[in-house]
Every structure is written in structure tokens, then in C-alpha cells.
């Protein structure tokens, strides 16, 4: 069940990236193509099989996991930046690219790298489960490392949340509001994921649903904006032709 969710999320992301190639070639909003591409890479790295294969190439000490975290940070940062620009959320811009935003980014990254360096990180396994089981000290370190890794995406989505909620309630086109709603739901999922350490063990499947659900919400939400524009630009020439 979880595997289906993982691979279908990967497929959706990959499809979005591929579909974005023509507009990237034309030079329209290239960064969206990179967002989809990096998101695909991040999801690929979060699935067991590909993760072990890629990490093996990198020396088998779970560096791939660290890379995954920074790829996620990059993706979420650029999604945040695009949304702040798109929705004219000037008050929130400071908390993303201003000094406070960069401070949060630097702090969380530093903490994450330190925790990673402190654990015995050899023997590749997705989600660091093998490292987790090796000793109590490692288990704690993996827990903190994971929390730091989830903190930045949660932070960015909290920064975006007010602008998204405002857009959902606005008079903008339906698909745009649907996209904003999906981004808001994705953001809430990421924020809930901060509470994972307090989840009882039997709720582990729910963690996967929340993680991949958030990824799906973000990708489908971004695609919704894009589809809305394609529709708007397609219907415009039709309208003028019927007017004649």
C-alpha cells in the first residue's frame, strides 16, 4: 500500500517535470521545471530501492539522506519564493528571503549537519532505519536529525499559509483557488509532520500518508496554477474569434 503511494507520487512528480519541459525550453518560468525536477529527485531518494542504489554509489554512509534533505529545502524554498511573488505577499517575503528567513535556514541546516556528523551513519537504508536500530544514542540522533529536516519545510509552509488561505477565499479563478487550497493542505501536512516523534508506533503508516500526501498536494497544487493559465490563454483567442 505504502509502496503504491510512493511510486505513484514519484510518477506524478516525474510526469509534471516532463510535461514542463516544453515551456522550460521556451523559457517560461524555468524555475518551475527545476522545482518539479528536484521534487522528483527528492521522492526518488526517499524510496528504499533507489535510495540504497544511489547511496551505494556515494560510499554507503547515508550521505544521500543528507542530500535528500537539502534538495527538499531547496524545493520548498523556491516554491515559497514563487508563491510569495505570485500572491504579492510582501509581508511574508522578509520571513523567507530576508534576514530572519535566512537565519532560520542557516540555523536549521547547521543543526541538521551536526546531528548527521555525530551519528554512525554507515550502512545505507532509507529513512536511516538501520542506523536508528543500532543503538539508543543513534536512535536519538536520528530522531533529532529528522526533526531538523522537517522543521524548515514546516517553517516555510507556515509562512505561506496566510497568503494561501487569503487566496482560497478570494475572487480569483476556481483552479487558482483550488491550487492555493492544495498548497495550504500540503503546508498543514508538513507542519503536522513536526509532531511525528509523538506518534505511537502503530501510526507509522499514517506518517507515510502525511509525507507523500504533502508532496502530492504541492505538486498537484502547482500544476493546478499552471493548468489554469493554459486554459485562460487557450480560451482567450477562442473568445475573440466568436466575437467576430
Amino acid at each position: 500500500m505504502i509502496e503504491i503511494l510512493q511510486w505513484s507520487t514519484l510518477a506524478v512528480c516525474c510526469a509534471a517535470a516532463v510535461a514542463r519541459i516544453p515551456s522550460a525550453v521556451r523559457g517560461e518560468n524555468r524555475s518551475l521545471f527545476y522545482i518539479f525536477l528536484l521534487a522528483t529527485l527528492a521522492i526518488l531518494l526517499s524510496i528504499d530501492g533507489p535510495y540504497v542504489a544511489i547511496d551505494g554509489l556515494l560510499g554507503g554512509i547515508n550521505v544521500a539522506n543528507l542530500i535528500l534533505r537539502f534538495v527538499l529545502f531547496t524545493v520548498i524554498f523556491f516554491i515559497g519564493l514563487r508563491c510569495v511573488n505570485a500572491f504579492g505577499a510582501d509581508k511574508q517575503r522578509r520571513w523567507l528571503v530576508g534576514r530572519p528567513g535566512l537565519l532560520v535556514f542557516g540555523l536549521i541546516s547547521a543543526v541538521m549537519v551536526v546531528f548527521f556528523a555525530m551519528m554512525d551513519s554507515f550502512s545505507s537504508s532509507a529513512g536511516l532505519s538501520a542506523v536508528y536500530e543500532r543503538s539508543t544514542r543513534n536512535a536519538h540522533l536520528v530522531e533529532y536529525y529528522g526533526a531538523a529536516g522537517r522543521a524548515y519545510p514546516a517553517y516555510v509552509s507556515l509562512v505561506l499559509l496566510p497568503a494561501m488561505v487569503k487566496a482560497v477565499g478570494s475572487r480569483l479563478p476556481g483552479l487558482v483557488r483550488a491550487g492555493a487550497l492544495l498548497l495550504a493542505i500540503g503546508g498543514v501536512c508538513l507542519t503536522v509532520s513536526l509532531l511525528f516523534p509523538f506518534f505511537p508506533a502503530q501510526l507509522t503508516p499514517l506518517k507515510f500518508v502525511i509525507n507523500y500526501g504533502a508532496a502530492l498536494c504541492f505538486v498537484v497544487g502547482l500544476a493546478a496554477f499552471w493548468i489554469a493559465r493554459v486554459r485562460a490563454t487557450q480560451s482567450a483567442p477562442q473568445k475573440s474569434s466568436t466575437a467576430k
Binding site: 508563491c83 480569483l172 499552471w226 485562460a232
Partner: protein, 248 residues
């Protein structure tokens, strides 16, 4: 409040005992799937009754009055007030009237009478619902309507802004304002002026009865409201464009 399907069937049988549903739809222009869906749900829209009664040369108001929930529409129609009549004149027609009158005044002694203004476009117009409610509002009307019908004030305002009003609310509004019950149905475009029993030329007569000052002030108000709406649309459009540029 849509009409119960049973009462509708009875009414339909009364006016066209032999006609099949397909015939009815063909004559009245109501989509067959629409009617079938309304019958299945047990709720027939008022507009369906209006379309069918027009097709059979029955006055739609009289047809609606045969249903229990609209029985108060029966009886001789109350004539609309001057304010109601003027509210159903489109903003552009008001502005043409301003121009026509000032042209007549500028002509001075040469022209004894102003050049005839173009005939008024038929009601309803783009803001007819809101203008109608404003015309009959004594300041407490919205309050009374929401108390009488239970609709939340913000939902009522939203309908007015969207230039919509359900027939039920339109009649409730007329009743709360103490004016003829069909005025709101004209403003929403459900029925025409003549179907509501408004005398022909009544709007033109009401317009002619306005003094220059009244007309100028009214046209100014309408123009200001139009400007606000257009500016808001432009802002929305600009915002959408920014979103496309960044996320499209």
C-alpha cells in the same frame, strides 16, 4: 423555494393535458435533461414554469400564483413606484438621458424640444437587482428580509452583488418593503415588465419626471458604483496575471 413536482405535474396537466414531456420541452425551449432532473428531484425551478407558461401564452405571474407557495401573487398587480421604475433603467441609458438633456439645453431657443433619446434597453440590466433593493430600501429593509426569511445578511448581500436573487427572496424583499410583489422578479429578469403588469413606457415616463438635478445625482451614483466594480475587476485581473507570471 422550488415548486413541488407533484403540483407542477398537476398544473401541467391542467394547461396541456395531451402534450408529452418531449412536446413541452420542444415548445418551451426547456432542456429535456433539465426538466427530467428537476422532476426526479421533486423540485421544479420557477424559471421552468415561467418558460412553459410563456410557450402556452399564459401570464407567468398567474401561472406561479397557482402554486401554494406563490399564491399571494394572485390578484391585480400593484403598480411599481417611480423609484423602482428608475432603478430598472440601465446606467448607460441614464447617462444618455443626461447627455440628451444637456444637448437640448445647449440648443437653447433654436430647438424647442431636445433630440429624442434612444429607447431604453429592456430590464434587467447589469446591476438591476442591487439598484432595485437600494431603490426600495428605507435603511432597515435588509434587516427585515433576513429576519423574515432567515437568510444571513452577508449571503443576501452576496446575491445582490452578483446581480442575483432567488424568486422567493425577491418576493420576500418586496413584501418587507411594502411594494408590488413582482418588482423583484422583473429586476432579476425572471419575468418582463409587461408580464408584471407595468404599463408600457412607465420607465421612460419615470425618467422624464426626474428633475435635471435628480437625474444628474442618480447618474453620478451609478457611475461611481460602476467605476468601483471595474476597478475591482482590474485588480483581480492584475493579481491573476501576477500569479500566471510566477506560477504558470
Amino acid at each position: 423555494m422550488p415548486l413541488p413536482a407533484k403540483a407542477f405535474q398537476r398544473w401541467l396537466h391542467g394547461i396541456a393535458p395531451q402534450a408529452s414531456t418531449a412536446d413541452i420541452c420542444r415548445i418551451s425551449g426547456v432542456k429535456r435533461t433539465t426538466l427530467a432532473q428537476q422532476l426526479v428531484r421533486g423540485k421544479v425551478a420557477e424559471s421552468t414554469v415561467v418558460s412553459i407558461s410563456r410557450a402556452f401564452n399564459i401570464n407567468p405571474v398567474a401561472a406561479l400564483a397557482t402554486f401554494a407557495s406563490y399564491s399571494e401573487l394572485a390578484g391585480s398587480p400593484v403598480l411599481p413606484t417611480a423609484a423602482e421604475l428608475v432603478s430598472q433603467i440601465a446606467t448607460m441609458d441614464l447617462l444618455s438621458a443626461v447627455i440628451a438633456r444637456s444637448a437640448g439645453a445647449a440648443g437653447g431657443g433654436d430647438a424647442d424640444r431636445p433630440p429624442p433619446a434612444p429607447p431604453l434597453t429592456p430590464a434587467p440590466h447589469a446591476t438591476s437587482v442591487k439598484n432595485w433593493v437600494d431603490a426600495i430600501d428605507d435603511g432597515e429593509l435588509r434587516h427585515r428580509v433576513s429576519a423574515a426569511t432567515g437568510i444571513a445578511p452577508q449571503n443576501y448581500s452576496a446575491q445582490l452583488t452578483a446581480n442575483r436573487l432567488t424568486p422567493e427572496l425577491a418576493i420576500a424583499t418586496s413584501r418587507a418593503a411594502g411594494v408590488g410583489l413582482t418588482g423583484g422578479l422583473v429586476a432579476t429578469g425572471m419575468i418582463t415588465e409587461s408580464e408584471a403588469g407595468w404599463p408600457p413606457g412607465a420607465r421612460q415616463a419615470a425618467l422624464d419626471a426626474l428633475s435635471d438635478g435628480e437625474l444628474a445625482a442618480l447618474a453620478g451614483e451609478r457611475l461611481q458604483a460602476l467605476g468601483k466594480t471595474l476597478r475591482r475587476q482590474e485588480q483581480d485581473h492584475q493579481q491573476t496575471k501576477t500569479i500566471w507570471e510566477n506560477l504558470g
